[in-house]
Symmetry: C2
Protein backbone atom coordinates (compact mmCIF):
# COMPACT_ATOMS: atom_id res chain seq x y z
CA UNK A 1 0.00 0.00 0.00
CA UNK A 2 2.19 2.85 1.23
CA UNK A 3 5.23 1.21 -0.38
CA UNK A 4 3.64 1.74 -3.79
CA UNK A 5 3.60 5.45 -3.07
CA UNK A 6 7.33 5.85 -3.49
CA UNK A 7 7.44 5.43 -7.30
CA UNK A 8 4.56 7.88 -7.55
CA UNK A 9 6.45 10.47 -5.53
CA UNK A 10 9.55 9.86 -7.58
CA UNK A 11 7.47 10.57 -10.68
CA UNK A 12 6.08 13.76 -9.15
CA UNK A 13 9.52 14.87 -7.99
CA UNK A 14 10.84 15.94 -11.38
CA UNK A 15 10.21 19.59 -12.37
CA UNK A 16 9.73 18.82 -16.07
CA UNK A 17 7.28 16.04 -15.28
CA UNK A 18 5.35 18.35 -13.01
CA UNK A 19 5.10 20.94 -15.77
CA UNK A 20 3.84 18.26 -18.12
CA UNK A 21 1.22 17.24 -15.60
CA UNK A 22 0.08 20.81 -15.02
CA UNK A 23 -0.18 21.38 -18.77
CA UNK A 24 -2.16 18.17 -19.23
CA UNK A 25 -4.34 19.17 -16.31
CA UNK A 26 -5.50 22.17 -18.31
CA UNK A 27 -6.03 20.26 -21.50
CA UNK A 28 -5.09 16.82 -22.88
CA UNK A 29 -2.26 16.90 -25.43
CA UNK A 30 0.13 14.71 -27.40
CA UNK A 31 3.86 14.39 -26.86
CA UNK A 32 4.54 16.46 -29.97
CA UNK A 33 2.20 19.23 -28.84
CA UNK A 34 3.86 19.28 -25.44
CA UNK A 35 7.32 19.51 -26.97
CA UNK A 36 6.32 22.78 -28.62
CA UNK A 37 5.24 24.32 -25.33
CA UNK A 38 8.07 23.05 -23.18
CA UNK A 39 11.82 23.48 -23.74
CA UNK A 40 12.47 19.76 -24.13
CA UNK A 41 12.57 17.35 -27.02
CA UNK A 42 9.60 15.18 -27.92
CA UNK A 43 11.48 11.99 -27.04
CA UNK A 44 12.26 13.26 -23.56
CA UNK A 45 8.61 14.13 -23.05
CA UNK A 46 7.53 10.74 -24.36
CA UNK A 47 9.75 9.12 -21.77
CA UNK A 48 8.28 11.29 -19.03
CA UNK A 49 4.80 10.34 -20.16
CA UNK A 50 5.74 6.67 -19.97
CA UNK A 51 6.90 7.15 -16.38
CA UNK A 52 3.71 9.01 -15.49
CA UNK A 53 1.64 6.29 -17.13
CA UNK A 54 3.39 3.56 -15.15
CA UNK A 55 2.29 5.10 -11.89
CA UNK A 56 -1.18 5.78 -13.25
CA UNK A 57 -1.05 9.55 -13.19
CA UNK A 58 -1.74 9.84 -16.89
CA UNK A 59 -3.76 7.99 -19.50
CA UNK A 60 -3.11 7.67 -23.25
CA UNK A 61 -5.97 8.16 -25.72
CA UNK A 62 -5.49 7.45 -29.43
CA UNK A 63 -7.00 10.13 -31.67
CA UNK A 64 -6.30 9.28 -35.29
CA UNK A 65 -2.54 9.04 -35.74
CA UNK A 66 -1.72 10.87 -32.56
CA UNK A 67 -1.73 9.80 -28.92
CA UNK A 68 -3.12 12.33 -26.50
CA UNK A 69 -2.53 12.07 -22.79
CA UNK A 70 -4.83 13.28 -20.05
CA UNK A 71 -4.00 13.83 -16.39
CA UNK A 72 -5.85 11.61 -13.93
CA UNK A 73 -6.90 13.76 -11.01
CA UNK A 74 -8.53 10.81 -9.29
CA UNK A 75 -5.19 9.04 -8.96
CA UNK A 76 -3.69 12.19 -7.52
CA UNK A 77 -6.47 12.54 -4.98
CA UNK A 78 -6.02 8.91 -4.04
CA UNK A 79 -2.32 9.51 -3.40
CA UNK A 80 -3.20 12.57 -1.35
CA UNK A 81 -5.52 10.50 0.83
CA UNK A 82 -2.81 7.92 1.48
CA UNK A 83 -0.38 10.68 2.39
CA UNK A 84 -2.83 12.30 4.76
CA UNK A 85 -3.41 8.96 6.48
CA UNK A 86 0.30 8.49 7.09
CA UNK A 87 0.65 12.03 8.39
CA UNK A 88 -2.25 11.54 10.76
CA UNK A 89 -0.71 8.30 12.04
CA UNK A 90 2.55 10.09 12.84
CA UNK A 91 0.77 12.81 14.74
CA UNK A 92 -1.24 10.27 16.67
CA UNK A 93 1.90 8.32 17.51
CA UNK A 94 3.61 11.47 18.69
CA UNK A 95 0.64 12.42 20.84
CA UNK A 96 0.78 8.99 22.49
CA UNK A 97 4.48 9.38 23.27
CA UNK A 98 3.80 12.75 24.84
CA UNK A 99 1.06 11.31 27.03
CA UNK A 100 3.41 8.60 28.25
CA UNK A 101 6.11 11.18 28.95
CA UNK A 102 3.71 13.29 30.96
CA UNK A 103 2.51 10.25 32.84
CA UNK A 104 5.95 9.52 34.27
Amino acid sequence: MSAALVPTFAALGDPTRWEILVTLGEEPASASALSERLPVSRQAIARHLAVLHEVGLVEPVRVGREVRYRALGSRLSQTADALAAVGAAWERRLATIREIAEGL
Copy 2:
Protein backbone atom coordinates in the same frame (compact mmCIF):
# COMPACT_ATOMS: atom_id res chain seq x y z
CA MET B 1 2.77 27.35 -3.89
CA SER B 2 2.45 24.17 -5.91
CA ALA B 3 5.92 24.71 -7.33
CA ALA B 4 7.39 24.24 -3.85
CA LEU B 5 5.81 20.81 -3.79
CA VAL B 6 8.27 19.34 -6.27
CA PRO B 7 11.30 19.21 -3.93
CA THR B 8 9.09 17.63 -1.30
CA PHE B 9 8.01 14.93 -3.73
CA ALA B 10 11.61 14.38 -4.76
CA ALA B 11 12.46 13.91 -1.09
CA LEU B 12 9.64 11.41 -0.66
CA GLY B 13 10.58 9.58 -3.86
CA ASP B 14 13.63 7.80 -2.49
CA PRO B 15 13.04 4.35 -0.93
CA THR B 16 15.70 4.75 1.75
CA ARG B 17 14.35 8.15 2.73
CA TRP B 18 10.87 6.74 2.96
CA GLU B 19 12.07 3.99 5.27
CA ILE B 20 13.76 6.57 7.43
CA LEU B 21 10.55 8.55 7.60
CA VAL B 22 8.46 5.52 8.50
CA THR B 23 10.93 4.57 11.23
CA LEU B 24 10.92 8.10 12.62
CA GLY B 25 7.14 8.10 12.44
CA GLU B 26 7.10 5.28 14.97
CA GLU B 27 9.66 6.84 17.26
CA PRO B 28 12.19 9.70 17.04
CA ALA B 29 15.80 8.54 16.63
CA SER B 30 19.31 9.75 15.88
CA ALA B 31 21.29 9.14 12.69
CA SER B 32 23.45 6.57 14.48
CA ALA B 33 20.45 4.69 15.81
CA LEU B 34 18.90 4.64 12.34
CA SER B 35 22.11 3.31 10.79
CA GLU B 36 21.82 0.23 13.01
CA ARG B 37 18.30 -0.52 11.82
CA LEU B 38 18.80 0.24 8.15
CA PRO B 39 21.41 -1.26 5.79
CA VAL B 40 23.12 2.08 5.12
CA SER B 41 25.97 3.97 6.67
CA ARG B 42 25.41 6.71 9.21
CA GLN B 43 26.75 9.39 6.88
CA ALA B 44 24.34 8.43 4.15
CA ILE B 45 21.47 8.63 6.61
CA ALA B 46 22.68 11.98 7.89
CA ARG B 47 22.58 13.29 4.36
CA HIS B 48 19.05 11.95 3.87
CA LEU B 49 17.99 13.61 7.10
CA ALA B 50 19.41 16.91 5.84
CA VAL B 51 17.32 16.60 2.67
CA LEU B 52 14.21 15.78 4.68
CA HIS B 53 14.89 18.71 6.98
CA GLU B 54 15.23 21.11 4.05
CA VAL B 55 11.70 20.35 2.92
CA GLY B 56 10.41 20.46 6.47
CA LEU B 57 9.44 16.81 6.79
CA VAL B 58 11.69 16.24 9.76
CA GLU B 59 12.89 18.21 12.78
CA PRO B 60 16.17 17.86 14.73
CA VAL B 61 16.13 17.84 18.53
CA ARG B 62 19.35 17.92 20.53
CA VAL B 63 19.36 15.48 23.44
CA GLY B 64 22.71 15.64 25.20
CA ARG B 65 25.42 14.81 22.70
CA GLU B 66 23.08 13.24 20.22
CA VAL B 67 20.66 14.74 17.70
CA ARG B 68 17.32 13.00 17.42
CA TYR B 69 14.99 13.58 14.52
CA ARG B 70 11.23 13.38 14.56
CA ALA B 71 8.85 13.10 11.61
CA LEU B 72 6.49 16.04 11.11
CA GLY B 73 3.08 14.64 10.24
CA SER B 74 1.61 18.12 9.95
CA ARG B 75 3.88 18.95 7.04
CA LEU B 76 2.86 15.72 5.36
CA SER B 77 -0.82 16.46 5.81
CA GLN B 78 -0.27 19.93 4.41
CA THR B 79 1.34 18.45 1.31
CA ALA B 80 -1.54 16.01 1.01
CA ASP B 81 -4.03 18.87 1.05
CA ALA B 82 -2.18 20.71 -1.71
CA LEU B 83 -2.11 17.51 -3.79
CA ALA B 84 -5.80 16.92 -3.30
CA ALA B 85 -6.54 20.47 -4.41
CA VAL B 86 -4.61 20.01 -7.65
CA GLY B 87 -6.31 16.69 -8.32
CA ALA B 88 -9.73 18.22 -7.77
CA ALA B 89 -8.88 21.06 -10.17
CA TRP B 90 -7.96 18.58 -12.90
CA GLU B 91 -11.18 16.67 -12.48
CA ARG B 92 -13.19 19.86 -12.56
CA ARG B 93 -11.37 20.97 -15.71
CA LEU B 94 -12.03 17.63 -17.36
CA ALA B 95 -15.71 17.78 -16.44
CA THR B 96 -15.95 21.21 -18.09
CA ILE B 97 -14.36 19.94 -21.28
CA ARG B 98 -16.82 17.05 -21.38
CA GLU B 99 -19.75 19.42 -20.98
CA ILE B 100 -18.52 21.52 -23.87
CA ALA B 101 -18.03 18.42 -26.01
CA GLU B 102 -21.55 17.25 -25.28
CA GLY B 103 -22.90 20.70 -26.02
CA LEU B 104 -21.65 20.61 -29.61
